[in-house]
């Protein structure tokens, strides 16, 4: 108990004094996960619009499949990406294994189902008369899509932030294909798991507090958006 | 004659012109003005409308238009 208490005090000290190592790890974590969330959004928002507005065979099945993958285990994605980018894998020549880029790719895959699913339901939430209104005012089908996306902008933002939250809190992918290399691919979650197993609780707790703070901020932002 | 029509105007038949279905009856009033009425030919015959006969022109108030110069 004393040990935990001391660890907590030390951890607060690390944060307050802006300890270079803590800040470096937290900064990298944020950079990687923000990048993953943004890149995934750039792909998923248009893709979700296409799925939503187009009528095609197997649409329901596809949406069900997407929802099934909401809770895909991170280690499964880690394994999947590992197989592709390991030296012997089909994309091995890119030399991506154990790089921040590899983590970004893994996290993008991880958040794709959530993003697609949430954006599709955001678009579904838009009043159908709005589409008629846009068309009746002379919008082309592309312009109509933009109208609907703009109308659903808060819900779409929620989806992106949820995706970011999922990305920054995962550990399996960062560990398996990032490799937890100090000063290169070490992120908050991998650092916590390593330092804890080494018995260095201070750093773990400090990073834990930061991670929880990020989660808190994300939540506050989400609530703010959803209230609009 | 107790009738709801507000305008019951006395006059004399000046002229009757029979058409195929309707008859045009021109009634001259004491002041020299004329009123023209279109009624069915049968009615004109039934009422025995001939020149000089005393008649009333009956016009409902809601059917009177008013104009000014």
């Amino acid at each position: 108990m004393i040990e935990l208490w001391n660890g907590l005090l030390k951890a607060v000290e690390l944060i307050v004094t802006l300890d270079p190592e803590v800040m470096e790890i937290a900064g990298r974590s944020l950079r990687i996960s923000v990048t993953s969330a943004i890149l995934a959004s750039l792909i998923c928002v248009p893709l979700a619009s296409i799925i939503h507005f187009r009528q095609f065979r197997g649409k329901r099945f596809l949406i069900n499949l997407i929802q099934t993958f909401y809770s895909v285990p991170t280690v499964a994605i880690g394994l999947f990406v590992f197989v592709f980018i390991s030296r012997a894998g089909p994309l091995g020549w890119l030399g991506l294994l154990f790089s921040p880029a590899a983590i970004v790719i893994g996290q993008m895959l991880l958040v794709t189902p959530i993003l697609l699913g949430l954006v599709i339901s955001a678009l579904r939430g838009v009043d159908i008369t709005l589409i008629d209104t846009a068309r009746s005012l002379g919008a082309s089908s592309f312009q109509t899509t933009l109208v609907v996306l703009r109308e659903a902008r808060f819900a779409v933002m929620v989806a992106i932030i949820m995706a970011f939250g999922r990305a920054i809190s995962e550990v399996g992918i960062s560990l398996m294909i990032g490799g937890n290399i100090r000063g290169y691919t070490r992120v908050i979650t991998t650092a916590i798991s390593l330092e804890t197993s080494k018995g260095d609780l201070e750093l773990s707790i400090a990073l834990g507090i930061i991670l929880i703070s990020i989660a808190l901020v994300v939540n506050i932002v989400l609530n703010r958006i959803q209230q609009r | 004659m107790k009738i709801s029509a507000r305008n019951v105007i006395r006059g004399k038949v000046k002229k009757v012109v029979h058409g195929a279905v309707n008859s045009e009856v021109i009634i001259s009033l004491s002041g020299g003005d004329e009123i023209t009425s279109i009624i069915t030919k049968i009615s004109a015959q039934n009422l025995g409308l001939t020149e000089g006969k005393d008649v009333y022109a009956v016009i409902k108030a809601s059917n009177v238009m008013i104009a000014i110069d």
């Binding site: 068309r135 009746s136 005012l137 | 004659m1 809601s62 059917n63």
Partner: protein, 371 residues
């Protein structure tokens, strides 16, 4: 050439005919009101005209161009029209952006856009609401934004679906005022749907009666009111005296209609044996206390069942084999001491009777009727 012409247009949904054989011509600059009860198919017809939906069969020509040609043609034509939906929704944006949106789609930018939007906001009287989110406006204000959004596009055709149906009486009156000022100022072709036939009469040059998916009659409001094509139309336009009967004799266009043991004389082309109804305007019925000999072909004895004053007039309901409503001046009613239960004589001229078909006008599939 008509600006808009629909030819043999049908719309079927879920095995039901929503619209049947619509042949409608709208001339440029005309204000046309589609009147009919709720569910008659007015919205469906407006949506087809705005090319939001495609008809099951039939053609729509815009300025002589077949609109089924290609999606590009449809978009091009749709951009020359603007449609204010029945329950308009506004974009979750400011009033300004709501109006500017569709102008931007057409490539308008900068000061030209700004001036245009400001002007329109002024026209519809929303200057104080400029930056306000349109979602927070009242029903009447939302309707104004919707109309502003539409007229900002300077459409060749403005389509309005029940523009005042969901508003309180005061807002409705203001919107109607706005519409009539648009009619005066812009001389746009307007097609509006309304279940309120008086509104149609007030605003439109021509009305079309749409009932149960069929365009039963079109013409000036006066014509439709004075000579409804069949009983349904007569009832819808509020003709008060509609008496069902059968023609039993016809001589030189003067027909006798038998109803409830009484005969009504009228002028009509219908033939012996046809089931018809006689429509008589209450203003054309004269009452008397005694039997009078007059030129009026129709003279019946009856009993007063109800009396009520309406402004300077008195509405008298009479049972004379069939029920009749007469309108007389209040002064006459007083002088004649009219009272309930009193026996009375009614008379009306044969020419005051409008004879119309009792049965619904059935349109044969192949028959082409352009209204």
């Amino acid at each position: 050439m008509a600006l808009i012409e629909t030819i043999d247009m049908w719309q079927r949904r879920d095995g039901r005919d929503i619209l049947r054989n619509i042949n409608l011509r709208i001339e440029r600059g005309e204000v046309f009101a589609l009147i009919g009860p709720t569910g008659a198919g007015k919205t469906t017809l407006l949506r087809l005209i705005d090319l939001l939906d495609e008809p099951t069969s039939g053609k729509i020509y815009f300025n002589g161009v077949d609109t089924a040609e290609s999606p590009a043609v449809r978009l091009g034509v749709r951009r020359r029209m603007a449609f204010v939906l029945q329950k308009p929704v506004v974009f979750n944006l400011s009033v300004y952006d709501n109006i500017a949106y569709a102008l931007r789609w057409r490539g308008m930018r900068g000061s030209k856009l700004r001036e245009k939007v400001e002007h329109i906001i002024d026209v519809v009287g929303l200057s104080d609401y400029h930056g306000r989110n349109a979602r927070n406006l009242s029903g009447g204000e939302v309707q104004r934004v919707a109309i502003a959004r539409a007229i900002a596009l300077e459409p060749e055709v403005l389509l309005l679906d029940e523009p005042t149906a969901n508003l309180d009486p005061l807002s409705a009156a203001r919107i109607e005022e706005l519409i009539s000022s648009i009619i005066r100022q812009y001389a746009t072709t307007i097609i509006m749907a309304t279940h309120d036939l008086l509104q149609g009469q007030r605003l439109a040059d021509r009305v079309g009666v749409l009932m149960d998916g069929e365009l039963l009659q079109a013409g000036s409001a006066r014509d439709v009111f004075a000579s409804p094509r069949n009983k349904e139309v007569a009832e819808f336009v509020g003709v008060e005296n509609i008496i069902d009967g059968v023609i039993t004799s016809s001589e030189d266009k003067i027909v006798t209609i038998e109803s409830q043991g009484r005969s009504i004389e009228a002028i009509s082309d219908y033939l012996i044996g046809e089931k018809v109804c006689a429509c008589i305007r209450p203003e054309d019925i004269t009452l008397s206390l005694t039997r009078i000999s007059s030129s009026a072909r129709n003279f019946f004895e009856g009993e007063i069942t109800w009396l009520v004053d309406v402004g300077p007039l008195t509405r008298v309901e009479i049972q004379c084999g069939f029920p009749l409503v007469a309108l007389v001046t209040k002064r006459s009613a007083e002088e004649m001491k009219l009272a309930r239960g009193q026996s009375i004589f009614v008379s009306f001229k044969a020419t005051a009777v409008h004879v119309t078909k009792l049965q619904k006008h059935k349109i044969k599939n192949m028959e082409r009727r352009i209204i």
